[in-house]
Symmetry: C2
Subunit: 100 residues, 2 copies
DNA sequence: GGCTTACGTAGGTGACAACTTACGAATGAA
DNA sequence: TTCATTCGTAAGTTGTCACCTACGTAAGCC
């Protein structure tokens, strides 16, 4: 989960995730969406995303296709859902112990 | 959402969130859970969490009580859920266009 | 074999963030 | 008012991360 958060905290990496969430794109196509950033930088972003499991890589000749792996979000969502549960439990305790 | 991620990416800040998710704690009580970190550092972490809306602050005399605000996770969860939806939609398209 | 295309890796730079010690502000008690 | 308690703020240091340019690798084409 640390790796997932490290990857997600960078705005450009989140933008990359949005690009490949419904379509498989090559590294070049992805880089083309960031004219203000050099291509090797995008390569590094893709590596971080891949190491975090947030995207998968498929090689075809010299090209590499990337697409999102939403499964990687599961631990993060579990972490957050824990908060909702605990909050509700705490609220319940308060209500029961202090009837208005 | 950027502020929420910036706050969450720090392991100690996530630990603080866990501490105050089911109980209201003072800054001192929270700092006591991190013997290897100076108290002002915890103060700074609390500020980041507060600015992100992840915790609320209540002052009582010289003490300040903190507790978690799970509502702050909503935009992040919405972002992630978008991926599940798009993934399902993409899968549906593939299935319909390429009947086994 | 040479050349092009597509992409990653290496190494160095600048900015930012987490940490520290020292100090300040505000409340409460003697 | 003086002192202690509780906590935040200020300022400086260090490590990490995003970025760049230069180079390396691997596949396809002439």
């Amino acid at each position: 989960m640390q790796a997932v958060l490290d990857a997600m905290v960078e705005p450009r990496r989140r933008e990359i995730l949005r690009l490949v969430r419904s379509a498989e794109l090559t590294a070049g196509a992805i880089a083309a969406h960031f004219p203000d950033v050099a291509r090797p930088t995008v390569s590094q972003h893709l590596r971080v995303l891949r190491d975090a499991g947030l995207v998968s890589e498929r090689r075809e000749g010299t090209r590499r296709f990337y697409r999102s792996r939403p499964e990687a979000f599961v631990p993060l969502v579990a972490f957050i859902e824990d908060f909702w549960d605990q909050k509700l439990a705490a609220l319940k305790r308060v209500v029961e112990e202090e009837p208005s």
